[in-house]
């Protein structure tokens, strides 16, 4: 009888040892999973992979990148939020989950259920058409759609993503109507536009290689001012519509991560931003560093949250 009790106790201790998380001091002692919320081959994917590759040298453990695309970039973040807060599963985030939240399409809170780690990048958003399109300028597109409502379809990285909301805002300001075909990310949109299945794409600069190759024409960008790489391309504002769209790129983890772990990850990613390969990839997509440390990033997210709430309400897309 006594031996039986001992063996049960032994088993219980063993189980406990498995359950108790390893001390934060020796973090990380196994590979870290980084969930990327857009499909492979797009601008988010390639820059995030390069950043992870730069950061891993300072962690002493590999960072394994995994694409979990869908739901306008919310699928990946939802998965991160559901993981244990041990620092072994982290993810890339943009403003999209906050937009989805205000539209009533997210079942967790984008601020309270995540731990911010670092803000590192800024997207370049733009509108592209195929090079053989009848439209030479953004003005022509706007005139055509005014005459022919819903006759032009556009691809976006998903419902509730900044390039989608920007198109909605433009439609509202200009009083026109486009047909929206949501995709999982720019990699899918590139294929759809090349095949002529949609008329335009409003998405992040994953289109840049195809623009450079003469397959796509960049019509306008959503930034406040013109970009370095395509200085001849106007902003939407210049064309006469007061719409600007941007989104940050950050790294987050599940809520309740230990402070030491967050600090270690922040420092590694901060140093990873100095990596020449990372810089080269960012330059390819004309994306800029947009660094904030953990504390400031948390504050930024708070203000981002409020701004997006206003935007979503203005567009009439808020939860009913």
């Amino acid at each position: 009888m006594a031996t039986k009790i001992f063996s049960w106790m032994g088993a219980a201790i063993l189980l406990l040892a498995l359950v108790i998380p390893a001390a934060a001091q020796d973090y990380p002692n196994k590979p870290i999973n980084l969930i990327i919320q857009y499909p492979p081959g797009g601008s988010t994917d390639l820059t995030a992979r390069a950043l992870a590759n730069g950061a891993k040298k300072y962690l002493g453990q590999p960072i394994v990148c995994e694409n979990k695309a869908g739901g306008g970039g919310t699928v990946g973040v939802t998965l991160v939020a559901a993981k244990p807060a041990d620092g072994y599963t982290i993810g890339i985030v943009t403003s999209s989950p906050t937009m989805a939240y205000h539209m009533g399409k997210l079942n967790f809170h984008p601020l309270n259920d995540l731990t911010p780690i670092i803000r590192w990048g800024n997207y370049l958003f733009g509108i592209v058409v195929r090079a053989d399109s009848q439209f030479k300028t953004m003005k022509e597109i706007m005139e055509y759609i005014k005459q022919n409502p819903e006759k032009l379809s556009y691809g976006s990285p998903g419902v509730g993503t900044p390039p989608h909301l920007a198109m909605e805002e433009l439609s509202m300001v200009a009083n026109v109507k486009f047909t929206h075909i949501p995709a999982k990310g720019i990699a899918d949109n590139n294929t759809a536009l090349l095949g002529g299945h949609i008329d335009l794409v409003s998405d992040s600069s994953g289109w840049a290689p195809l623009v450079d190759a003469g397959k796509f024409r960049l019509m306008a960008i959503w930034s406040e001012k013109r970009c370095e790489r395509y200085p001849q391309v106007p902003t939407i504002r210049e064309i006469g519509y007061d719409v600007v769209s941007r989104s940050h790129l950050g790294v987050i983890g599940p809520k309740g991560m230990p402070k030491e772990v967050v600090a270690k990850l922040h420092d590694a990613f901060r140093k990873g931003m100095e990596d020449p390969e990372y810089k080269a990839v960012m330059k390819k997509f004309d994306m800029n560093d947009y660094y904030l440390n953990t504390e400031d990033y948390a504050k930024y997210q708070q203000s981002d949250f409020e701004n997006i709430e206003k935007l979503v309400k203005k567009l009439g897309l808020d939860k009913k």
Partner: protein, 502 residues
């Protein structure tokens, strides 16, 4: 420079000692992970990607590509010898390959799959060189409606062919579609069928499902049937297929190659679908469809050829347009970008050395694989001589390790074991797993395509019939559904897998 000079330059790059070395390492690792169930090329490439950062872009792409097409060779070995697909594209090879092994023809099955793979691989490379750009233009014509209809057709063909009862096969397909919807919805991001279990948010993984259905359940069935053991003691004869084997399978190899190549080019298509469809077509065109599932050599040759040429075809959209057609290609894309090479229409003019070097290395790699596989097969034949009391625990161990190692998730192990029991029960009541697995893989893609099509058409289903490619696919699919109901067609149909239980 004309094509010949480009190729010459490519071979000069491929025969560089460093590149030759990386090519060898790539195909060796590829064969190994192909043979090991649970370790697929994706896992191996993601593990080795960081290691390539220290070498040249050409060498690293050569090695990563070698892992991919090497796994296509290796995957067949395990399918034939142990009836477990070494990787997903070898599922169909199990059906007849394993039967051949049981009949003492394992050597010829392995031989024809290696030669079939070599022929398909070589032809795929020639196709890649000659007709890459026009083919991409064609593949781009496939929008959401075409994708949806093509997948409906693929599923219908499979249910039409797998089972004596189409109703049973359709039931399995429906089951697969339901399992495929588990997790977060692709478009809205909301959770479905997750039962508030966080691990299920990500849905159910393909590897645990396949390992359970094809690995664990097979072990469970075999434990019951002690008499089956003697099959494995049969002597394995020579690896060289006879003239008769060649006569039977050369047509299948060529059909599989062409089909696989085209399906490989399709974004989202690839080796897995290619092997499924080519098997179905072989059974259709055969004068003796009743032999399929009972050790028909065509049933080994065609899917193996198809998955190899699909592996080559998949390079076309990546190298010419910068668009990855599957996860493996996406990893190659990432590797290229990190090395400062922008894949896309400019790649050919800016980095001709890389483009032609990688293509030439694939040819070299295919020859290496042929020589590598025949001796290595001998090594794996040894597995047959291992008694079941050792082999079964080993299979279970590999399945456990394999399912755990993908995401380091115990949930995946539980899912695999659950599907092992489900697969066991399914076989007990003669329900085939193949339609279930294909529906499970295609389900999420079909759903996205369906919803995108309906958004585009504003809810009207006419979009599927007004577009020619889509309409043709659907009409064939409907015809396949109706034919079994017609009285003059009510002859007994043959099954793919029935024979396994006798």
């Amino acid at each position: 420079m004309d094509l010949f000079n480009f190729l010459l330059m490519g071979f000069a790059v491929a025969f560089d000692p460093l590149n030759l070395f990386y090519c060898f390492i790539g195909v060796l690792i590829g064969t190994l992970v192909g043979v090991l169930p649970g370790m697929g090329p994706v896992a191996a490439m993601s593990l080795l990607l960081p290691a390539t950062f220290h070498t040249t872009p050409v060498a690293s792409i050569i090695m990563l590509a070698g892992i991919y097409y090497g796994a296509m060779y290796g995957g067949s070995t395990t399918s034939i010898l142990v009836n477990i697909p070494g990787e997903a594209a070898s599922v169909m090879t199990c059906l007849d390959g394993y039967q051949m092994a049981r009949q003492g023809r394992a050597g010829r099955a392995l031989g024809i799959s290696a030669f079939g793979s070599f022929i398909a691989g070589s032809m795929g490379i020639i196709g890649l060189v000659l007709i890459a750009p026009p083919l991409v233009e064609f593949a781009l014509k496939f929008g959401p409606p075409e994708y949806f209809s093509l997948m409906v057709l693929g599923l219908t063909i499979l249910t039409f062919l797998t089972s004596a009862s189409m109703i049973r096969a359709l039931m399995m397909a429906a089951f697969g579609l339901i399992v495929g919807t588990m997790g977060l919805d692709n478009i809205s991001g909301l959770a479905r069928f997750t039962f508030h279990i966080p691990e299920l948010l990500d849905g159910v993984g393909l590897v645990p499902v396949v390992m359970g259905l094809f690995g664990i359940s097979e072990v469970l069935l075999n434990i019951e049937m002690k008499t089956k053991r003697e099959v494995f003691t049969t002597k394995v004869k020579g690896l060289l297929p006879t003239l008769q084997d060649w006569a039977k399978s050369i047509g299948s190899i060529i059909r599989g190659t062409v089909l696989g190549f085209f399906l490989g080019i399709l974004p989202g298509g690839g080796a897995v679908i290619a092997s499924f469809v080519s098997y179905a077509i072989e059974k259709r065109v055969s004068k003796h469809p009743e032999e399929f599932g009972k050790g028909a050599i065509q049933g080994v040759a065609a899917p193996e050829a198809a998955n190899n040429s699909a592996a080559q075809g998949a390079f076309i959209p990546l190298l010419t347009l910068g668009i990855p057609s599957n996860v493996v290609m996406a990893m190659l894309l990432g590797a290229l970008i990190i090395h400062g090479v922008t894949p896309g229409p400019l790649l050919l003019s800016q980095h001709p050395q890389l483009f032609w070097g990688v293509i030439a290395s694939m040819y070299v790699g295919n020859i290496m694989l042929l020589f590598l596989n025949l001796p290595l097969i001998g090594l794996w034949v040894q597995l047959l001589k291992v008694p079941y009391s050792i082999l079964f625990p080993l299979i279970i161990l590999f399945c456990l390790l394999g399912s755990y190692s993908i995401n380091n998730s115990t949930m995946d192990v539980a899912i695999m074991l659950a599907f092992g029991v489900i697969g066991y029960l399914m076989k007990k009541i003669s329900l085939e797993p193949a339609p279930m697995v294909l529906a499970f893989v295609l389900g999420p893609m079909m759903e996205t395509a369906l919803r995108q099509s309906l958004i585009k058409s504003k809810g009207s289903f006419s979009i599927f019939f007004t577009r020619p490619i889509s309409a043709v696919c659907l009409i064939i699919a409907i015809a396949l559904m109706v034919i079994p109901l017609l009285p003059w067609f009510r002859r007994p149909r043959v099954t793919l897998e029935q024979e396994e239980f006798k």
